[in-house]
């Protein structure tokens, strides 16, 4: 009497033998047994009959065609555009976000460095005198009598020196000090004039003339950098709000002098806040991050559904 386990193993072997799925050694062993055991032979024969009966079942033709119609696959086609749009939007937003962060890093690193450098200057200036710092330096036109003498006779009022010290971080001149005033170079665009390049060239010429005539004049050099736009914008805006008859930085009452316009009321701090408050980078980053994450989450939800 064979055990249930042996019976099952024997059954598996007989079944595999029928299908020719036994290894050679197993097949030979079974054939030897089959030759000796009639009961095993009969069992194999019954399995064979069952297999033949099952194989005799007719092969049915499909009762109809199962071809698909566009309506059947509509669901898939409908889902695809949403999925594609979300995928694209999410990916694009992620790419732009990375690019924007990189751009901000590139732009902010030197800016932060300069701002830090400027701090001691600003502090020293405020130690010496009361702020009354003005954010703008607007030079007069050549026919008004002089240009580039930033200190000028107005030095007595301390306006110019205040202007420099307080203004430096705003116009990107923080790497300058008043000791470097000998190197005079004025690069400035006058909005009222025609071509900016012409204006700059003119200003450089007049600055040189001023140097020749007034050696003791303090001067400064303005370097065009990424912050130049801000300072230029302020400079352009200044004449319009001028209440001291300063037109384009030219004080008509003091012809022959380089005129520096100072507007303490306008405040040195104002340009700082206007430059930093509405941070377009941050806003764009937030929007892009929302699109990227939102798109991803929406896609995930859609696919789950």
């Amino acid at each position: 009497m064979t055990s249930k386990r042996e019976w099952t193993l024997e059954l598996n072997t007989l079944s595999a033998f029928l299908d020719g799925e036994l290894k050679k050694s197993e097949r030979q062993h079974l054939q030897t047994r089959l030759a000796q055991e009639p009961e095993l032979r009969e069992r194999l024969e019954n399995l064979r009959k069952t297999k033949v009966l099952l194989g005799s079942l007719p092969h049915l033709d499909a009762p109809r065609n199962f071809t698909l119609t566009p309506e059947m696959v509509k669901v898939r086609e409908k889902k695809q555009p949403w999925s594609s749009v979300l995928q694209l939007a999410s990916a694009m937003a992620a790419v732009f976000l990375v690019a924007l962060v990189g751009l901000e890093l590139v732009l902010n690193t030197p800016h932060a460095y300069r701002a830090n450098d400027a701090m001691p200057l600003m502090e020293s200036a405020s130690d010496v005198e009361e702020p009354a710092a003005e954010p703008l330096i607007i030079w007069g036109f050549p026919d008004s009598g002089g240009l580039g003498g930033a200190g000028g006779t107005d030095m007595k009022s301390g306006v110019v020196s205040e202007s420099f010290s307080a203004e430096e971080p705003l116009v990107g001149m923080d790497d300058l000090s008043s000791d470097e005033a000998e190197e005079t170079m004025v690069e400035m665009e006058t909005p009222a004039e025609g071509e900016p390049d012409d204006a700059v060239a003119e200003m450089e010429t007049f600055a040189q003339q001023e140097e020749d005539s007034e050696a003791e004049q303090d001067s400064t050099s303005l370097e065009a950098d990424s912050d130049e736009e801000d300072s230029e914008t302020e400079m352009r805006a200044a004449p319009a709000t001028d209440e001291d008859s300063l037109i384009l930085g030219l004080n008509l009452e003091e012809s022959g002098e380089t005129i520096a316009r100072s507007e303490p009321g306008a405040g040195a701090a104002e340009p700082v806040t206007t430059a930093r408050d509405p941070n377009p980078f941050r806003l764009a980053q937030i929007i892009l991050a929302v699109i990227a994450v939102g798109g991803g989450v929406a896609l995930w939800i859609l696919r789950k559904k």
């Binding site: 059954l11 799925e21 019954n46 297999k51 698909l68 696959v73």
Partner: protein, 202 residues
């Protein structure tokens, strides 16, 4: 056209190319579904669902045997349909086609040359065999249908059923034995040649 070309064109959204594949495989798919489900309308539903599913998942086909991949989806559709019908039982009064045809449909008649009595006996035998198949657990049933009814080898059956080769082997053996035992209840329907020895089935 080559099967791979049809698949590629279907992947590009060519429904006509996909339908060519459907026409090529629909008989096989329906047969497998019918033998697993044991019911005509259920098999039709499962087959249709399977082809829709195949179209939707076509981009997941990673090469190899398309037939095996398709039949795996068919068997899964059968399992789903069986589960669904278990929750909401449907008891048809008689085999009926989707379009309203009944048993008179030609495919129920295996051999037109048989006289009516023989034809009836043959149909009864086929029903008896199908009944015994239906008595099996669905996993055993699938392997039995794939190997003994559809004539697949163990490897293909393993691929379709998604089970290891050893499991296919043991399930098939047990399924055959159970069908053999079951058929003894219909011994009067069996041809003399196929009448089994009761001693062996005990």
């Amino acid at each position: 056209m080559d099967e791979n070309e049809l698949i590629n064109e279907a992947l590009d959204g060519d429904l006509t190319a996909f339908n060519s594949l459907v026409l090529h495989y629909q008989d096989l798919a329906f047969n497998v579904a019918f033998r697993i489900m044991g019911e005509h309308s259920a098999a039709g539903d499962a087959t249709q669902e399977a082809f829709i599913s195949v179209y939707q998942k076509l981009n997941q086909f990673r090469g190899g045997s398309f037939k095996a991949w398709l039949l795996r989806i068919v068997t899964n559709a059968c399992y789903d349909e069986l589960r669904r019908r278990k929750r909401q039982p449907v008891t048809p009064l008689m085999p009926e086609l989707e379009d309203g045809e009944t048993l008179e449909d030609p495919y129920w008649i295996a051999d037109d040359n048989l006289d009516p009595e023989e034809q009836t006996e043959q149909e009864e035998l086929q029903e008896a065999i199908q009944h015994c198949i239906n008595e099996l657990d669905v996993k055993f049933r699938t392997v039995l249908v794939l190997v003994d009814v559809e004539g697949m080898d163990y490897e293909t059956a393993s691929e379709v059923a998604g089970t290891p080769l050893g499991t296919v082997k043991s399930r098939l053996a047990r399924a055959r034995e159970r069908v053999q035992q079951c058929l003894q209840g219909f011994w009067e329907l069996l041809p003399d040649l196929f009448r089994l020895n009761d001693e062996d089935t005990a």
